[in-house]
Symmetry: C2
Subunit: 357 residues, 2 copies
């Protein structure tokens, strides 16, 4: 029989211990601790005093098990947390709102690994989180739905899922595409390329289709390049740009599917003595923290990360309080164009030979 010196995983005081010390039943203590209306304030005071004296700490597992209606945690699964995404901000919004109601967040980073994502789903289910906020790594969500069915309500966030059959906070990326082409066209650009990366999920497809549609609507030829993986779009931007420079096939404007990719493009252009935006305009997407640095001044789209988190956590809390009824909640958010110094008027020589009507 092991007896840890520090007393962990050993005997923590329970409401029964308090009950003994105060001289009442553990039921009275339970009620007193949660400030029930049918307990005398004298007893409440006594109970609370003794509780803090002996270092009583409620046991969330026991509480949950006993009263089945109140889950104590919220789950969240994201593909990444690092510089390439902005889920840290969404997490902060979620976590803060949850902490306010004494819930905590179980966070899993799937690292764009399907097996890990499923593993986290299972963990969340076993922990009976009140809701699982998930930005899936793919639009194929059948396996996720199957794992969590009947156990945990799902809230999908991000650009990959936009179904009326699921709760979701959806980011509309096709709108970004329309705005990007609009903006560059107004600056005189006719030769606009789009840089994408693998995998070709719904997020990327929306940008691609939105871009192609907007270009064709103006009688312009869409040109799409695809390179690299979502885990390292910076390098993809560098590689693409270098090959374009070599082939002498540069447009007057490049829109990149991610800020990091745009940074790679700008770095490569500058190394090759191109001026931004005088020679070429560059745009990104996501408004990541470094985009505003004066060395880049990247024109980009701000995705409302905080609003995303807030919408999601509100859904989660609603579900946890009122149950998950038939009706699916659906929130749609759009990115906002942030104009900075990386974009400017199209260079004159190019504009002259452009296909203006």
């Amino acid at each position: 029989m092991k007896m840890p010196t520090k007393g962990f995983s050993h005997k923590k005081p329970t409401i029964k211990d308090i009950a003994k010390l105060v001289g009442v039943s553990h039921v009275a203590v339970s009620k007193a601790l949660k400030d029930a209306p049918d307990i005398s304030s004298a007893l409440k005071e006594k109970v609370n005093r003794v509780a803090s004296e002996i270092g009583y700490m409620p046991n969330a597992s026991a509480s949950y098990l006993s009263s089945k209606n109140t889950a104590h945690n919220i789950g969240m699964i994201v593909p990444s947390l690092g510089a390439d995404t902005a889920y840290d901000e969404a997490f902060k919004a979620i976590s803060e709102a949850a902490a306010f109601k004494n819930h905590s967040i179980l966070l899993g980073v799937s690292d764009r690994n399907r097996d890990l994502e499923r593993q986290y789903c299972r963990i969340m289910c076993e922990n009976r989180v009140g809701a699982l906020i998930i930005s899936p790594i793919s639009s194929e969500i059948e396996d996720i739905k199957q794992i969590c069915a009947q156990t945990v309500p799902l809230i999908f966030i991000g650009g990959k899922v936009d179904s009326k059959e699921q709760h979701c906070v959806h980011l509309n990326y096709s709108k970004s595409a329309a705005l990007a082409v609009d903006y560059l066209y107004a600056l005189g650009h006719r030769d606009i390329f789009l840089f994408l990366y693998h995998p070709m999920n719904k997020t990327i497809m929306q940008k691609k289709e939105g871009y192609e549609k907007a270009m064709r609507a103006r009688n312009l030829t869409p040109t799409v390049y695809l390179e690299g993986e979502s885990a390292d779009t910076y390098t993809a931007g560098c590689v693409l740009t270098e090959s374009l420079i070599k082939s002498g096939n540069l447009p007057t404007a490049i829109w990149c599917a991610s800020d990091l990719m745009a940074i790679g493009v700008m770095d490569t252009l500058k190394l090759n003595h191109f001026k931004i935006p005088e020679d070429i305009s560059v745009m990104g997407h996501d408004n990541l923290p470094f985009s505003k640095f004066s060395a880049y001044q990247l024109t980009t789209f701000d995705v409302p990360k905080k609003a995303l988190g807030e919408a999601a956590v509100n859904m989660a809390l609603t579900i946890m309080e009122n149950g998950d009824d038939e009706e699916r909640i659906h929130v749609s958010l759009e990115a906002l164009l942030i104009k900075r110094g990386s974009t400017g008027k199209a260079p004159v020589k190019i504009r002259d030979k452009g296909n203006e009507i």
Copy 2:
């Protein structure tokens, strides 16, 4: 009586349901599910088949309540997750190792708010995490210790706590200071400033003292500037640099306590037509993702974030498996100098009037 259509927070299958269907006691099912040696493989197979058929999902709360020795989660509290820190990487290392053992991470972001930090400590305790990995916002950890005492073992990470009485993975920042001065001195710099920000916690103090000691050891005069807050060190870097430019009091090299601050410094210098590193060298600390961008090429210190997370999670898992014995575990990590283009030889005119012996 509410009956949620989707069946959440309602009746999930339990081992008793499996027991009924298979025709054995729930105890046999419990054992079968965990592959106990004293159960026939025939029964195991049957049980597992039925379990997956009816969508059985273990209940971690019940499991924990029953067998007190195995906590199922690990807690983690950090001051921030965003671009100004690098805890996302540490988190990933921790989370991955934990998921491997079917543990999940309860994450709290204190946002450098003391009340929130305490709130999260309480939540972690109520959830009975097996260990709490915390990077406290201050070196004053008495309140944290008091809240968690007897309930949750603490593992301190980062530069703020370096006590033999606590488990900790400590980052030694004074070593960085020595290396920074060493390196700049070897490049010919004699006029080296240190830029710091509030609050003056242990992390900052280590850099300050290490720097001053190293400078004095070379008969150089230490010059320390203090500006802004940890939440926005970029602006602090800009402000400090502008005022130095105005007063014409620029050194040949500046070492900043954070990369973000160094970026602010570089941006401001470049806006004022200073060349880096020809006119002035700039160094940072932390090797954040943007430091390597070719527009900055920031010489900095890489703090071993992954190693930090790995050391911490190993401690946590050890404690969860073997209990928390008397002996405190102590790991010390040092940052590694990353030489890039933002530092170079001291400008000649300055070197001539420098105080060389």
